[in-house]
């Protein structure tokens, strides 16, 4: 087992701080080194042009050799039992390097869905493969625009044999991440008794997968059509579990965005120190300096809230709207930094050859993925009102 196991397997934060302890800093160094080595921009550009969109060799190293795929999955299900804080560290480094691979779909989305919704037997059956990276899974969760309407595009009917847990799924789900490489589809479906989790095997002939054209080709999206597809019911998601699943995914994504945003700020400032116009580095022009200072402030605030949101998920203490607050803030700071990354480079920043647009597109896509900032702010206010009435 390559990773140092933390003493506290749930979380490792010292209360009320947004920063990392020594073990977490060590962990971050390992993760940073890995993605810096394994996900250089040249690899991102190569993979974004492929259909699969990932490098199985790197995935093997990531999941088996250093054990990231199961980092946040409890040990009893074959994972390493780290918490949301360490997952945040991983996501930040992936976001920084635009890592292309099935981590978010399989480990984060499908993994958390099983943890929150699957019954114990299916957790034991399915999570170990996800945790060691041998199973690539994804989550079918429609509609991402309004999660309170999740699962309504799919219809589940019991198979002829009423006694079994075998069902048939029908309907079309849009925006399914990495569906073409996933062998296991975890589907959220609205049933008469509420939301339920189903598993469908990717190689079923009763599903049709269509690749979608996307703005950010480092994140592959598919439409999946289910035609009375054979499905197994593996658990239920009550509304608290659904909310928590959404929280967990949103915070992981927020961390990914914080990593990307930090890279945009750092690389843009570095460029501005070197780029000369009018006999001065452009980084010496006051209007541009002030813009960078404003962006730094925005990033620092988003970072503080995002890390606190992980802490909240780890220990369950704090304001329960922190995940949505983090998603909204991280989305906006990433997008603003990406826009500035293009603008402050001038024409070169708008070229394909320059790398800035790769982060810009990831920022644009992440802005709305799992719900726009607007939606998350609205959700946050609803929680504040609910807590008032409670």
């Amino acid at each position: 087992m390559p990773l140092h196991r933390p003493h506290n397997t749930d979380h490792g934060w010292f209360p009320m701080s947004n920063d990392f302890n020594d073990e977490q800093l060590q962990f971050r160094d390992v993760v940073k080194r890995f993605f810096t080595d394994k996900s250089p921009v040249s690899a991102v550009r190569r993979l974004m042009a492929t259909d699969a969109g990932y490098d199985p060799g790197v995935w093997q190293q990531l999941s088996a050799d250093i054990g990231l795929a199961g980092a946040h999955i409890p040990q009893e299900y074959g994972g390493y039992g780290f918490g949301p804080v360490e997952l945040g560290i991983i996501a930040e480094e992936m976001g920084r390097t635009l890592y292309c691979g099935p981590f978010f779909a399989s480990s984060v989305m499908a993994g958390y869905a099983l943890l929150e919704g699957a019954d114990e037997a299916h957790k034991h059956q399915l999570l170990p493969g996800i945790a060691d990276g041998s199973t690539l899974a994804t989550l079918v969760l429609d509609n991402l625009n309004q999660v309170d309407q999740a699962g309504q595009n799919l219809r589940a009917e019991r198979a002829a044999d009423e006694s079994s847990e075998h069902w048939q799924l029908t309907g079309t789900a849009g925006l399914v991440l990495d569906a073409s490489i996933a062998s296991l589809l975890i589907c959220v479906v609205k049933t008469h008794s509420g939301l339920a989790l189903f598993r469908v095997d990717r190689d079923s002939t009763q599903i049709a997968i269509e690749k979608l054209e996307v703005i950010d080709t480092t994140r592959k999206l598919y439409q999946v059509e289910f035609k009375q597809a054979k499905a197994e019911k593996i658990g239920v998601l009550d509304s608290a579990a659904m909310a928590l699943l959404w929280d967990r995914m949103s915070v992981a994504l927020a961390h990914e965005m914080i990593g990307g945003a930090q890279l945009m700020l750092d690389s843009t400032v570095e460029y501005m120190k070197l780029r000369m116009q009018f006999g001065r580095p452009i980084g010496s022009f006051q209007a541009l300096k002030h813009r960078c200072a404003d962006l730094l402030l925005e990033l620092e605030l988003a970072k503080a809230v995002t890390r606190q949101a992980s802490y909240f998920l780890a220990v369950g203490e704090g304001e329960r709207y922190l995940p949505s607050m983090a998603k909204a803030m991280a989305s906006e700071t990433y997008m603003n930094l990406a826009k500035a990354g293009v603008q402050l480079r001038g024409g070169i920043g708008f070229t394909w050859e320059n790398d800035t647009h790769l982060w810009f597109k990831r920022a644009k896509s992440s802005e709305v993925f799992l719900g726009s900032p607007y939606l998350h702010r609205e959700r946050m206010m609803t929680m504040i009102q609910e807590s008032e009435h409670a």
């Binding site: 116009q277 024409g347 050859e353």
Partner: protein, 422 residues
Amino acid sequence: MRDFAEIRVELNAWLDQHWSPDLSLVQWRDCLVDGGWAAPVWPSEFFGRDFSAEEDAVVAQEFARRGVVGAAQSGPRRLAAETILAHGSEDQKRRYLRPILTGEHAWCQLFSEPGSGSDLAGSTTRADLREGRWVINGQKVWTTSAHHADFGILLARTDWDVPKHQGLSYFLFNLRQPGVEVRPLRQMNGHASFNEVFMTDASVDPSDLLEGEGHGWRIAATTLSIERQGFSQTRPDGGLKGLSELRGRVYDEYRAELKIAQEPYTWYPQRAGRVDLALPRARQTGAITDPAIRQELARLLSMKMGADLAASSAAAQSRAGSNRVSPQGSIGKLAASVIARQAAHVHTLIAGTDAMLSGTESAEGGVIAEVLLSVPAISIAGGTDEIQKNIIAERVLDMPKEPRSDTGPFRNIARNATDPTN
């Protein structure tokens, strides 16, 4: 001043005699130049008739009315022509103006460089006089249609020991020679509307230097002011209504010419944010009932209304010959940036999660996605927002300039390490 009616009579008589849609484009334009109707505003010594702008408009009207193809207009060729007219020698005018009018020569503008974007006068493409010829080394960028161009108007440094603006010279540069490599420059939205032009020991005959050594910046200012007046803009129909329906060889060849000229500009409406699609999209999706989105939509429509009104007022003043300082150029450009960004924001709000998608299956057949990836260009191309704000502050608000760091001999000015000659 001539009577407009007289002009109409003379022109129509001439057209009755010479115009035929069955000619080749070049044949027809040769005839047009010989007849003096290709550029009537130009001086009579050089293919023109000394017409006023109003008289010229009458000619254009008649051409449009009769569906007659005019002289070649598209792309930067008119920038070259007007600059040569203003600054060229007799010999240069004789050699270059006619094939511009006939369309036989296409031109491009070789000003911007990787190392000098906002700071155009910091150009480091060098021109050295060796054995009686100017030898050019350097790289230009953001060159529209260079891969179709025969010639370029070229700004290059001939003296490194004088202040930056004084060491530049202006050349009429033949691109069809060894030592010139033109590469397409792909943008983040997938289009490749521009080129990079690499010049390695390319050469220019001394007779193709405009005015003389060191006058480059002054002449470039003429070119840029012509550009700002919109001379490089081409209307999609090339000035002829229903052009796509017209039959005849001259039309076929004209359509082909326009198509090449317009190809780089297909994404420009998206770059401006497609404000026109905001309300329809909000209605289609039902977002128009969302109070928070309504606020952002209202802001967008307000800014757009303000900018359109201000622009039409400025245009009216300009038509009325008002000499008041019009802040319109830079203000309009800055307004366009602000509006485009707000439009992208509104389109994202409306699209929600679907803003991840692109391609023909996505919103408006991919147009919305192209908006989201093209808007960043509007605050850069043709002078960044930052440069426009400098201009507005200094020229409209009369605020003082910053202290300069680029005075003295160019050789000593700090510049980009990647520049070819340091």
